[in-house]
């Protein structure tokens, strides 16, 4: 690393990015913080009314019971999405990565597993919507297998007690491959001589996994968990396309709640306040993320 002779040189390299950041990032973030203290329905900001903390009281303290109820349910759904995704994806991905590691056709399988990872987007959310239809694939599969108790007559997304499960399934489908391939890359990167040396020294298989494999996989697990939790709290598109937050708010997440409050109910102040509160909640997770992104600069 060097100190430039002309002091302005490094700043020149930063300039385009900083200009964009000031014009878009800083302005928007600042304005949205201010908005959260106002009552405003859009168009002309001179119509906005300063209301202090009343937006926050509405949904946090229950001054407006309906808004408050929607908010806490949405937050709970975000937590549920994060929780179930992590506890299902991590072990399954780990097992599959171990199994994949020593198979002959690893390349072929990897190609298959890579598909959901890059193609999971709006097009695929419509497919899932179709698979979850009342007479769709999932229901007929369960019926054929004789698992009648799993059949949801309204379709999994059409019933308020199962709809969130449907959303979780699609998140797992889209999220599992990334974690699996990350673990696989980690496992194949282990120097095989390490295992040889360990077995010469008489280490058992369990010891090797504990002392050699796991220390390497630990940071990857952290990255995977952070990504999934972050993703779960930013959920929007799959819910928006597949259920729109329904039925009866059973799949409402913070993302769709903010969207609806702002762009359907035109309550920009309240929407901003909800958005920033969820930001504080994710802030805790954020601190961990920053650790992961600590570059050596």
């Amino acid at each position: 690393m060097v100190t430039a002779k002309k002091k302005w040189v490094p700043y020149l390299f930063l300039l385009p990015g900083i200009l964009l950041f000031l014009a878009i990032g800083v302005y928007s973030v600042g304005f949205s913080v201010i908005l959260s203290f106002y009552n405003w329905s859009g168009i002309d900001f001179s119509n906005a009314r300063f209301e202090g903390l009343s937006n926050f009281k509405d949904f946090l303290l229950g001054d407006s019971p309906v808004v408050s109820r929607n908010f806490y349910y949405a937050l709970l759904h975000n937590f549920e999405l994060a929780f179930f995704q992590v506890i299902i994806v991590i072990p399954v991905a780990l097992v599959l990565a171990f199994v994949l590691q020593n198979t002959k056709m690893a390349g072929f399988y990897r190609t298959l597993y890579f598909l959901p990872m890059i193609a999971s987007g709006i097009a695929v959310f419509y497919v899932w919507k179709g698979l979850f239809e009342p007479t769709g694939v999932l229901n007929s599969l369960f019926a054929t297998l004789g698992l009648d108790f799993l059949v949801v007559p309204e379709g999994m997304l059409g019933n308020s007690s199962t709809s969130l499960i449907g959303i979780i399934i699609t998140s797992i489908w889209g999220g599992l491959p990334g974690t699996l391939l990350l673990y696989y890359a980690g496992l194949t990167a282990v120097d095989p001589t390490l295992y040889e040396a360990a077995s010469v020294d008489g280490a058992s298989k369990a010891t090797m996994i504990r002392k050699i494999t796991w220390p390497l996989l630990k940071p990857m697990t952290l990255i995977a968990v952070i990504q999934m939790v972050n993703g779960a709290f930013q959920t929007f598109e799959n819910v928006f396309i597949m259920t729109g937050g329904g039925p009866a708010g059973s799949t409402e997440v913070i993302g769709t709640l903010v969207y609806r409050t702002a762009f359907i109910d035109n309550d920009y102040g309240l929407a901003s306040a909800i958005g920033w509160t969820s930001f504080l909640v994710t802030g805790l997770i954020a601190i961990f993320s920053i650790r992961g992104f600590k570059a050596d600069i």
Binding site: I118, T135, A262
Partner: protein
């Protein structure tokens, strides 16, 4: 025995990965009655209806949507690579005042939930006269890609030997030439990873275009697909034909994407 259990496991999971695409393809080849009556089957019960693709393509001007998506993706990718590779280079190669502050300020952007700043972003863009335009759609997407791109470019440039820099200085190269002629070409793997991530991200982005665009001439493919959904109620065959059109470029680029992605992921993760 154990070997075959392994394969069964891997095949079951592979099938789960593949099935939605199979269903998408099969359903697009059904008649609309067939699609509605037999949604449980991924195969058409009669002849393959290839004509649906042409119908959908013409019904909603998908050619235009395709072009719009292409323009947006290409400019976003180019912008992200150009702007943030320069920043990464400065962070990796120079000592200067305020460096840590600027770096973490950008990284913190990653943590602001997109939907929170949607409202002011929309107002901001409208005030700048950029609502309902390519530029209005593109600029926030570039800015949103900043944290990860800066992080990756900074780490990548740090791994490139510093002697290269010193010998280039001795040869009389100025800072910009060193960046452009020496460091940038060496960062091809990082560029590939960033390009792919932003290609997939911008190609699938729906929330921001939905808010900033209202003229149908500027619709991107995902918006076209949503419009198709609202205009052809329960016509699963049409919707799936549209879905295939939407992800076609991703599927076509698939082998290339896979190669680059796995490379970039390994490089990025093993180092951490």
């Amino acid at each position: 025995m154990i070997k075959s259990i392994k394969h069964v496991l891997l095949i079951i999971y592979g099938f789960a990965c593949l099935y939605p695409f199979l269903w998408m393809f099969g359903t697009s080849l059904k008649t609309s009655q067939d699609a509605l009556a037999n949604p449980q089957s991924p195969f058409p019960s009669g002849a393959f209806q290839w004509g649906t693709f042409a119908e959908v393509w013409n019904k909603l001007n998908f050619g235009r949507f395709f072009m719009n998506s292409g323009i947006v993706s290409i400019i976003v990718i180019a912008g992200v690579i150009f702007i943030y590779s320069m920043m990464g280079y400065a962070f990796a190669k120079y000592r200067f005042r305020g460096k840590k502050f600027i770096y973490y300020m950008f990284i913190a952007l990653l943590l602001v939930p997109g939907v929170t700043i949607l409202i002011p972003l929309y107002i901001n863009m409208t005030n700048l006269g950029l609502a309902n335009s390519y530029v209005g759609m593109i600029l926030p997407m570039i800015n949103g890609a900043a944290p990860f791109a800066i992080f990756l470019f900074t780490s990548y440039f740090r791994t490139i030997s510093h002697e290269l820099y010193e010998s280039a200085v001795l040869d009389g190269c100025n800072s910009f030439r060193i960046y452009f002629r020496i460091y940038l070409p060496l960062a091809i793997p990082a560029i590939g990873t960033i390009a792919i991530m932003n290609f997939i991200g911008s190609w699938n982005n729906i929330l921001w275009p939905m808010i900033i665009i209202d003229s149908k001439d500027l619709f991107t493919l995902p918006m076209g697909l949503m419009y198709l959904d609202s205009s052809s109620f329960k016509k699963w065959n049409e919707l799936m034909a549209g879905a295939i059109i939407t992800i076609l470029p991703i599927l076509v680029a698939f082998p290339f994407l896979q190669k680059m992605y796995v490379q970039g992921m390994t490089a990025g993760s093993v180092k951490m």
